[in-house]
């Protein structure tokens, strides 16, 4: 009997999105994706209303009732996990704090370096993030700045919880400051205990715990948490778990190796890499600190609808117009109508060509910012190459997801632009990857299933994504 193969055969993966609640149904005994459903997210009347409607939509499509044994969910509803990060030096603890927050699936709404002034504290109060990550100083390094910033935050009206992950020598003083001011806070390991050493596990664990303990309730998602078997996690965090699983594999099965995921949305373009990124050839010197194996970057100025002007600004109107086969004024006019129409789909071949050119430009900008760079330097002993960031030239796969890619007529042509380009040889992009498209939007679900049944999650990914 097939049922006896697995105690938890049928699984439901839910994504509470900012506009839509999406559900995916799986048969984990046979590693089958059964179908999808969706319905608008309902924050005001309770999150479960939208979920029930999405499940009803799923059942209508399946033409039968669906009784899951396992229910898992992630959420980017109510603004996602909005974080502010504070560090000391922009290229050091500020960057480390950003990696920690992005890797935990956060949406970073503000980044600050050095001592905060009143204006900045005012901005933080206005932004009212879900979590503030306060860093600065290596262990036994600079204390003054992080302590000054703790004082500033303690005197502000800010009520956001604060994760302190800076110089350990300053931790006791900061604890006192926040305790006296009755702030919600937790002290964890320094994100950069030694210069150039990234240590983000402690911070990410604190973020996960806080998201579960406090933020879910604050956002009205606690009813959903009760309905689930696993923990409700931020959606980008589910995608990152999928990236890690597909790359490294499960205990019993190998993964596909190092990979890159391109996720292009209306307001942002995200790139995830699961790769070491060390220099591939001798004679290359690495500068800066080693980036995390799972690295996520979010380009907040580049997206297909809300942030379409950002693509034009960064990539240039003329070039994109030329690739679309239209004159620049037509492209400009088209873009000016897009920014407040999130769900707009092209209505003519010309608009389709413009969307394609915009998507290509967005992907290329985002991968270029994510990938490492080489610069050459001339020394007395000849030319040498200096690498900053990850060398992605040897990753084995690039996976595309997000509406602009998944619903495109030729998605592989879009993903081709992530490739290493001889015209820009110092941008360390994938040289010869296989390309895959997440046509059914399963990546988040794979990440969710991976928490409970990594073997089944990997097989589902192999069957439907990395075919």
């Amino acid at each position: 009997m097939k049922n006896s193969k697995k105690a938890s055969r049928f699984a439901l993966a839910v994504d509470f999105g900012s506009t839509y609640t999406k559900v995916k149904a799986f048969d984990l005994a046979d590693y089958l994706f059964l179908g999808s459903g969706s319905s608008p997210t309902t924050l005001d009347e309770g999150i479960m209303t939208g979920l029930e409607a999405a499940i009803a939509d799923l059942e209508a499509r399946l033409k039968r009732p669906f009784q899951p044994d396992l229910r898992m969910a992630c959420s980017s509803a109510a603004g996602g996990l909005r974080m502010i990060t504070i560090g000391l030096v922009p290229s050091l603890t500020v960057q480390a704090a950003k990696y920690a927050a992005l890797g935990a699936g956060a949406k970073i709404v503000g980044v600050y370096s050095g001592e905060l002034n009143r204006k900045e504290v005012g901005q933080i109060e206005l932004l009212a993030p879900d979590i503030i990550l306060l860093c600065g100083g290596t262990d036994s390094g600079n204390q003054n700045v992080i302590i000054a910033n703790a004082k500033q935050l303690s005197e502000s009206t800010n009520g956001s919880p604060i994760i302190v992950a800076g110089n350990k020598s300053a931790a006791d003083k900061i604890e006192n400051i926040f305790r006296c001011a009755q702030k919600d806070f937790v002290v964890t390991d320094n994100v950069m205990p030694e210069l150039g050493v990234l240590n983000i596990d402690g911070v990410q664990e604190s973020i996960r715990k806080w998201f579960l303990d406090k933020i879910i309730r604050a956002k009205g998602l606690d009813a959903a948490q009760k309905f689930m078997n696993g923990n409700l996690i931020p959606t980008p965090s589910a995608v990152l778990q999928a990236a890690e699983l597909i790359s490294k594999g499960s205990k019993s099965e190998e993964g596909i190796g190092e990979l890159v995921i391109v996720d292009i949305g209306g307001a942002t373009t995200d790139i995830h890499s699961a790769a070491e990124g060390d220099p591939e050839e001798g004679g290359v010197i690495y500068r800066g600190f080693k980036e995390p194996f799972i690295k996520r970057t979010v380009e907040g100025d580049i997206g297909m609808r809300h942030c379409v002007e950002g693509i034009i600004q960064a990539a240039g109107l003329e070039g994109i117009a030329y690739s679309s086969g239209v004159v620049p004024s037509i492209l400009q006019k088209y873009c000016s109508t897009l920014s407040d129409r999130c769900a707009y789909l092209p209505e003519s071949p010309e608009q389709g060509r413009m969307d394609t050119a915009l998507a290509k430009a967005a992907i290329e900008l985002a991968i270029d910012r994510h990938a490492g760079k080489l610069t050459s330097a001339y020394t007395s002993s000849g030319e040498i190459l200096i690498q900053k960031g990850k060398d992605l030239r040897n990753v084995s796969a690039v996976i595309g997801t997000g509406g602009a890619i998944a619903y495109h007529a030729s998605p592989l042509a879009l993903l081709q632009v992530t490739r290493f380009n001889a015209r820009a040889p110092f941008s360390l992009r994938p040289k010869d990857p296989r390309f895959h498209v997440d046509r059914h939007y399963l990546l988040y679900a794979v990440g969710l299933i991976a928490q409970i049944d990594p073997v089944a999650a990997l097989r589902v990914a192999r069957r439907y994504i990395t075919v």
């Binding site: 600065g136 290596t138 600079n142 950069m192 010197i285 020394t379 007395s380 002993s381 200096i386």
Partner: protein, 136 residues
């Protein structure tokens, strides 16, 4: 414990002398933040800010120190490191016979101590300890 940031400045790959300096300083009980070869001036300063360093010890062997170190003290002042000790040593200028001349150039640029390639590292460490004591 005093913290010292050290490395080889500019596009100079000569690391060995600087590694010896690193070992000597560690043996003397300093906390050493070693940035290695090919280190831009800004990286020394950023590392010193983040680690709250007491001194920056710069090596340069390839004769370009004057270009690489231009404005170094100003940049430190800009980064809030007014008190930091700046040491520089190595083959600092090609073709100048009189070291006193070389020393003057770099002291005028704001370096506290300037050494020729032949310096005895014991003297260097003694100077460093003295200077740090005076500061405290």
């Amino acid at each position: 414990m005093n913290t010292i940031v050290t490395g080889v400045i500019g596009v100079d790959a000569h690391i060995i002398g600087n590694r010896i300096i690193q070992k000597v300083l560690e043996n003397e009980g300093f906390r050493v933040v070693s940035l290695g070869a090919l280190t831009p001036a800004e990286d020394f300063i950023e590392a010193a800010v983040e680690t709250n360093a007491d001194a920056i010890v710069i090596s340069s062997l390839y004769g370009q120190a004057q270009i690489d170190c231009e404005g170094f003290r100003d940049k430190c002042n800009e980064a809030g490191l007014q008190e930091i000790l700046l040491y520089l040593g190595g083959n600092l200028a090609v073709g100048r016979k009189d070291f006193a001349e070389v020393e003057k150039i770099f002291k005028d640029m704001g370096f506290n101590r300037v050494y020729p390639p032949t310096v005895n590292l014991k003297d260097f460490v003694a100077d460093l300890k003295n200077d740090l004591n005076e500061e405290q």
